[in-house]
Amino acid sequence: MSDTPVQTSATVLTVRQVQDYHAITLVAPAIAERFRPGQFVAVAIGDAHSGRLVRRCFGVYEVKSDYGGTVELVFADTEPGTAWLAGRRARDQIDVLGPLGRPFRLPRDPVNCLLVGGGPGGAALFALADILHRRGCQVHFVLGGPTSRQVFGSRMAQRIGDSATVTTRDGTMGERAGVREVLPRVIQETGADVVYGCGPTSLLSAVTQVAGEYGLPSQVSVEEFLQQTGACGIGVCMTCVLPVHGEDGVTRMVRACHDGPVLRGDRVRWGDLGTIPFDALGAPRVLSASEGGSK
């Protein structure tokens, strides 16, 4: 099976600062050749004697065939683990596991696709855009962030996208607005048939809702949630669970790393993230007298 993930020692090619984020390019042919857009990698932090046991999960910005196969990640430095990664230098070796998780589902026909991103998570949309283009799809971008330094890939989106809309809260780039406010207009203008999203949870929730209002399917990557909660990346640690309702209408706590990170937006119970909804399968219940008595 070529889609089996691998654990590999990758050589760092470059680490560079991109606006408020860091981009690291790794030589990892085995991961590059297996990668499908939407999948992620889990990076070990520190060397063999490090006290850090938790892998950090990152979406993949792009894979290239240079040097046998490279993988580029874009991430924000938010905690000691990402600070360590940002401090790597060319020729350092790091332990990477991947590609992991379910990729974006692709449309069978050449349709109009709207790709909505925010923060460093928006980087994961570019590999998707590439494959959609090759399938003859139109690709429209909406990228947003609090300020211009936190909108990743706006120039790239303008270059490769059939259209690109950029929003910032402070108006330092593009429109002074939130992504949510421009979405209805962009959906109408582009005649989007499907919406893809990657970025902060609040953005994904908004994308799902607006897409739903227009009757459009949404595919979103909960990569940011995974980054905050995940520890293993392969589905054994059970720390990255979120409530998702299935076709049978039953809400289950699913693993973002194993059942995601790409999920159908309309299946995620966005308002209940970080909780166990009372009607979820196996949710704790207040034992009523009758139930307690039946034991």
Binding site: V54, T239, V241, G274
Partner: protein, 340 residues
């Protein structure tokens, strides 16, 4: 693999002493792409309860120095889902499987043992005593010798005779030996030492506990000295009861440390989160470590308890072919220099 690595837990003979720790190997399917689970001594399942459980809300884990603090709330599919989907897969793959069971009452433990009775593919049952006992205002079974023994007795009474029962104990007790004695008296064929150590972390950003469960279980190399101490103490008191040593095993030498303290087997836990192939690597490294010391596993168990100067039976380097030699070597080399 040679018989130098074989070990025994009650009536169960294992080709080697390296297991996965409960709750760290998922259903087994997740690890399968990274390591051959059939090569391990056994796969220990995530604790099974009678009903499906969603577990606790996130955040469920917090990184600690050389460790991981977790409060999962025993999520799982319930015994029905487990018997329908998870156990059959393990059985099909011919993975020796130790089923971990968890209950909130003695009756739930008994019920689980009954449900596993007629099922094939259960090599042993591990009783997870680190469960809140509803009848005792939610205090852990593990905290009280009587309560832990009651859970073990219930499982022993209802499990298929001949299937070994292991009691997994928590280290957060005044005297783990007392709890171990009570469990052995209640019919445990072996003891798994240790479960996670109760701990807590506070998020200095949110100014609140880092975990939804407030406190959680600490695992990983941080707890290894505690685990080794527990194994050593219990083996000293109960030298004939097999022990599965658990707690921060990340290398073959870590495993050997547990064996020397008195463990007949070891389980790899949190290391699997970091490295899915960790268990097979630990096995390989332990085999090399024993070979380098010219020892058989069985002769190394509890060796740290022997007086200084004691020389364990030596074995020749890996024999080239099947010969009648090994028995003769073991008999001839009985230079037991027990110093007074």
């Amino acid at each position: 693999m040679s018989d130098r690595m074989t070990t025994r837990i009650g009536s169960l003979e294992l080709p080697n002493p390296v297991l996965t720790a409960s709750g760290c190997g998922g259903t087994g399917r997740e690890l399968a792409p990274f390591c051959d689970l059939t090569r391990l001594g056994a796969f220990v399942t995530t604790s099974v309860m009678t009903q499906p459980r969603a577990g606790r809300p996130t955040p469920r884990a917090a990184e600690a120095p050389s460790g991981l603090l977790t409060a999962m709330g025993l999520p799982g599919p319930g015994v029905e889902g487990f018997l329908e989907r998870d156990l059959p897969w393990l059985h099909e793959q011919e993975i020796r499987t130790v089923v971990s069971v968890a209950g909130n009452s003695v009756e739930e433990f008994a019920e689980l043992a009954r449900r596993l009775r007629g099922v094939s593919g259960v090599a042993a049952i591990e009783v997870n005593t680190a469960c809140p006992n509803v009848a005792d205002r939610g205090r852990m079974f593990a905290w009280h010798p009587g309560a832990a023994a009651a859970a073990v007795r219930a499982v022993r009474a209802h499990a298929k005779p001949g299937v070994p029962v292991l009691a997994k104990l928590a280290p957060d007790v005044t005297d783990i030996v007392t709890v171990a004695l009570a469990c052995a008296d209640a019919g445990a064929d072996g003891l798994t030492l240790i479960n996670t150590v109760d701990g807590m972390a506070i998020d200095t950003g949110t100014l609140r506990p880092a975990l939804t469960g407030v406190s959680g279980g600490l695992s990983g190399p941080a707890v290894r000295p505690i685990a080794v101490r527990c194994v050593y103490q219990v083996h000293a008191a109960l030298p004939d009861v097999p022990i599965v040593g658990v707690g921060g095993v990340a290398s073959g030498l870590d495993a050997l440390e547990f064996v020397l303290a008195g463990a007949s087997a070891v389980a790899v836990g949190t290391a699997l989160f970091h490295e899915p192939g960790a268990a097979t690597r630990v096995l390989r490294e332990l085999e090399d470590a024993l070979a380098a010391r010219k020892m058989r596993l069985a002769d190394a168990v509890g060796l740290a308890h022997k007086p200084a100067g004691y020389v364990p039976p030596q074995v020749r380097p890996e024999p080239p072919a099947a010969e009648a030699a090994p028995a003769a070597v073991a008999a001839g080399d009985s230079s037991k220099e027990t110093t007074p």
